[in-house]
Symmetry: C2
Subunit: 457 residues, 2 copies
C-alpha cells in the first residue's frame, strides 16, 4: 500500500470556515467594473437593481481577505464537500512518468461540477434578502443545473435562459433542471426586449452565452423580487470557489507535500480562480512559489490571443464593462464541445494576475483534449467533462515533459466535472468525426476592433 | 454541528480485505443450479465452457465464509471505494420524522452504480485465466458500463449485448461503453443463432434481458478465449457485492450505532444481497436482529407475486436452471423505466432467505417511486436512478410510519446509483405523462404455467 492514499478526504469538521478573497493580497488590484455610460467604477447603488446586496459587497470588496461562510451554506456543502484530492496513480503508471499527478475532483455531485459551490452561496444570499427568485443563463448546462439544485433547496424560483443550441442538443440537462423545479427558456427567446431584438437581427440564431446573459439580466431587472446571478467571471464567484483551493491546500498539508505546478481549465475563470486562490496568495505574500497554468480552448483563446482591455460581458451590452483579456464581446466562438469555455473574456482577477506575469496560459485543440479525456477515463475510471479535459490534456503534457526530462515534479490539476451529459461530443470523437476550430488572426483582429472606447480606461 | 456527520467515509486502509459469503452461514442453503437436460446439480465441468474458473468456484462454494479480495481488485476499488454512508438529515427534516435515515451511496463512480464492484472482480479473474475477452448483456446499461470500465482497465475485450429498446432509447449509455472500448450490439441481433431465432419468431421485437443473456452466452461459448459474465442473480455476484454491506456495517460501528431496518431495491438481487449480507449473517448466527425489506416494482413482482420454483434465467433456455422466486422466464415485463429491475426471477440466495421468512418484500408503483425520487433529489441533492428510487420510496414510507407511530427507528437503505442516463423517465414524470403497469393475476398465472418441469426438483 502506498503511503499516499488514492483519495484524500478532509473530515467534514475540517471544511473551511471562510472563503478566501485573493484580491486582498494583490498589490495591484483587478480593475473595477465600469458603468458604460459614464466610464466610472460601479457603486453598490449601480449594481443593486441587478445583483443581491451581500453579493455586491463581496463583488466590490478587494481588501477583506476572509469572508465567513454562513452556517446554512456550510451545511449544504456537507452534502458533497469536502471533495476528494485524488492521486492519479493509474494515470502516472500509464504515462510512465516520474511526475506525481493529483487532481481535485469536483464532479461528485448531481450538478456534475464545481458550479454548485457558488450556486448555493448565491441562492442563500438571495433568500436571505427576501427575494422571490433569481434568473441566470447557462451554456453547457452545468451552472443552470447547480443553481436549480440550490434554489430547490432554499425554496427560490429559478429562471434559466439556456443557450438555444444547448437547449436543443442537451434535453437531458434541461430535464434535470426541471426536476429541480426550474423554468428553462431557450435563448434568444421572445420573452425579453433584447431577445426579440437579437432574433430580429439574426433570424434562426441558436444563441450564445453573451446573449443569454443579456436576457437573464433584463428579466431580473424587470421582475419584482428577482435578481440576476452569474456562475463565473465575477469576483464573488471566485471568492466562493476558493473553497476548492482551500481544501486542496489543506489536503496537501495533511499528506505532507505540496504541488509544484497547478493547472486549471479556464472559461470565465471560476474554477481556475478558486483552485489557485490560496496558493497564489502564498506566492503573492512571498511564502511559497508555484507555477500556475490556465488552459483554454484553441477555439476561444482569450488569454493567449486576446487583448487586455475593457469590454462588455454580454452581447446585448446591458452589463457593466469589465477589464479583462478578451477576444471581443461580438466574437462568436465556434460550436466546440466545451460549452463552458466558450466565453469571449476572462475574469478580471485572472486577467490581472496573467498580465502581471504571475501565471501562464496555454491553448489546446479539442481532438487532443478528447484523446486525453479518453485516456483518463480508461485509467482513472472517471469520464471527465470536456471542459475539465482541457486541464487533463495540459497535465498529461506536463507529466510527459517530466518524463522526457527525468523530473519528479508534483502536478495538481482541477477536475471540475463529469461528462455524462456530453456523450454527443464523445460520440463524435469515438466515430473519428471530431474536428478542430482555430480562429484566424484576421477574425480575432476584426472582433477586437469593435471593443468599446472607454472614457479614462 | 451534529455528532454524526453527513457522510461517513471509511479510510482506504479500512477497505474490507475479504468478501463475505452469506451462504456459509445459512443452515438451509440456496438450491443448486441444475443442468436442464438431467436435472442434476451443475458441476465445475458443466459450467466451465460458460464461466471463468475462479468464478465457478465462488459460485458453487456455499461453505467458505470469506474470500480474500486480490490486491489488484482492491487497488481498483480504491479509485471509488470505500463509498460513503450518508445521514439523510435534510430528508428527515423534510419528512418531519423522528426516524434516522441513512443511505449507502454507490453512485459516485462513472458506471453510476454498485455494478462496478462485481465487474472489476469478474474482469480480473477473466484476465488472470488468460482469456481474451468476455461477453455480457445489459438492460438499463449500468452493468454494461461497469464491465466496459473494468475491461478497459485490465485490457480485456468486452462484447455487450444491449436490449434493443435500451440501445435505441439510451444512445448515451452506449456511447459511454464505446468510450471504454466495448463493442455494443443491439439484442436480439442477427449475430447469434438464438438471436436469429428470436427475430424470426418475433419480428420487430425490441428485446428483453432474458433474450440478451441467451445471445451473450452463445457468443461466449462459441468464441475461443471468451467467457460469459453476469451482473446479478448469481451467488458470485452477491459475494462481490457483500463489500457494500461490509463497509456499511463498519461505518455504523464507527458511528457507534446500528440500523433497525435495512431496505434495498431488488431486481436480480445483486445490491440487496450485498447490502444485507453481513447483517443477515449476524441474524443467522443469532448475534443481532434486523428487519430486511426487498423492494420490487409492481410491474415485475417476482417475490411478492411469483412462485418459488426452478426456472430458466434466459429466454433462449440455454442457461442452467435456478430455483428462485419467478414470474416465469417467458414473462415480458412492461416497459417500465427501471430497466435494472425488469428480470423475471430473483437470486436463489435472496429467494431462499425470503422463503424462510427471514426477510420481507414489498412492491411499489413507478409514479410513487418517481415522486420519492424527486423529493429525494430536491432535499438530498442527488438525482437517483429509477431502480434505487424504489428503495427511497420504501424508506420514506417507513420513516412516515415512524412519524405516525412516534418511533425513533434507524433506517438504512441502499442508494445503488444515479439517474443521469434516465432523464427520459424523469421527463415523463415531470410532464405528468408517466403511467403505472400492474400485471393481472391471469397474466402471471399464465406465465407460471409454463415453468419447466424439473426432474427431482
Amino acid at each position: 500500500m502506498q503511503t499516499i492514499p488514492y483519495k484524500t478526504y478532509l473530515d467534514e469538521s475540517e471544511l473551511p470556515e471562510c472563503w478566501y478573497n485573493l484580491r486582498a493580497d494583490m498589490a495591484k488590484k483587478p480593475a473595477p467594473l465600469l458603468v458604460p455610460a459614464t466610464g466610472k467604477p460601479c457603486t453598490e447603488a449601480d449594481l443593486a437593481p441587478v445583483f443581491c446586496e451581500e453579493l455586491i459587497r463581496q463583488e466590490l470588496d478587494d481588501k477583506t481577505p476572509l469572508f465567513k461562510i454562513p452556517k446554512q451554506i456550510r451545511d449544504f456543502y456537507r452534502m458533497f464537500r469536502p471533495s476528494p484530492l485524488v492521486r492519479a496513480y493509474f494515470l502516472e503508471e500509464a504515462l510512465g512518468t516520474p511526475a506525481k499527478i493529483y487532481y481535485k475532483f469536483e464532479g461528485n455531485n448531481t450538478s456534475g461540477s464545481h458550479k454548485l459551490n457558488s450556486a448555493v452561496a448565491q441562492a442563500y444570499y438571495a433568500k436571505a434578502q427576501g427575494l422571490k427568485g433569481v434568473t441566470t443563463e447557462t451554456g453547457a448546462g452545468q451552472w443552470g443545473t447547480a443553481l436549480s439544485m440550490a434554489c430547490a433547496f432554499f425554496g427560490l424560483d429559478c429562471h434559466v435562459f439556456m443557450v438555444k443550441c444547448s437547449y436543443e442538443q442537451k434535453p437531458f440537462r434541461r430535464e434535470v433542471m426541471r426536476t429541480y423545479g426550474a423554468d428553462v427558456t431557450p435563448s434568444p427567446s421572445m420573452t425579453t426586449d433584447v431577445g426579440r431584438l437579437i432574433n430580429a437581427e439574426h433570424p434562426g440564431t441558436t444563441g450564445s452565452l453573451g446573449c443569454a446573459i443579456s436576457e437573464a439580466v433584463e428579466s431580473a431587472v424587470k421582475t419584482p423580487g428577482y435578481r440576476y446571478v452569474l456562475g463565473s467571471v465575477l469576483n464573488q464567484v471566485l471568492l466562493h470557489q476558493s473553497i476548492i483551493g482551500l481544501e486542496a491546500r489543506a489536503a496537501f498539508k495533511k499528506l505532507g507535500t505540496k504541488p509544484d505546478v497547478i493547472i486549471g481549465c479556464a472559461g470565465g475563470g471560476s474554477n481556475l480562480g478558486g483552485l489557485i486562490a490560496p496558493f497564489m496568495g502564498e506566492k503573492l505574500r512571498g511564502e511559497a512559489d508555484y507555477r500556475f497554468v490556465a488552459v483554454e480552448p484553441a477555439s476561444c483563446p482569450s488569454l493567449t490571443r486576446g487583448k487586455y482591455a475593457y469590454d462588455y460581458c454580454d452581447t446585448g451590452r446591458i452589463c457593466p464593462l469589465a477589464k479583462m483579456y478578451t477576444i471581443g464581446a461580438d466574437y462568436i466562438p465556434s460550436a466546440s464541445h466545451a460549452g463552458g469555455l466558450r466565453f469571449h473574456g476572462m475574469s478580471s482577477t485572472i486577467s490581472e494576475l496573467y498580465d502581471q506575469g504571475l501565471m501562464e496560459a496555454v491553448s489546446v485543440k479539442q481532438t487532443d483534449v478528447f484523446a486525453a479525456a479518453q485516456q483518463f477515463a480508461r485509467t482513472e475510471g472517471i469520464l471527465p467533462a470536456p471542459e475539465s479535459s482541457h486541464a487533463i490534456r495540459a497535465a498529461i503534457d506536463e507529466a510527459l515533459k517530466c518524463k522526457a526530462e527525468g523530473r519528479e515534479e508534483t502536478i495538481l490539476f482541477g477536475l471540475t466535472g463529469t461528462g455524462y451529459f456530453d456523450m454527443t461530443a464523445y460520440q463524435a470523437f469515438n466515430d473519428g468525426k471530431m474536428t478542430d476550430f482555430v480562429p484566424s488572426d484576421a477574425d480575432i483582429a476584426a472582433s477586437l476592433e469593435k471593443l468599446p472606447k472607454v472614457v479614462g480606461a
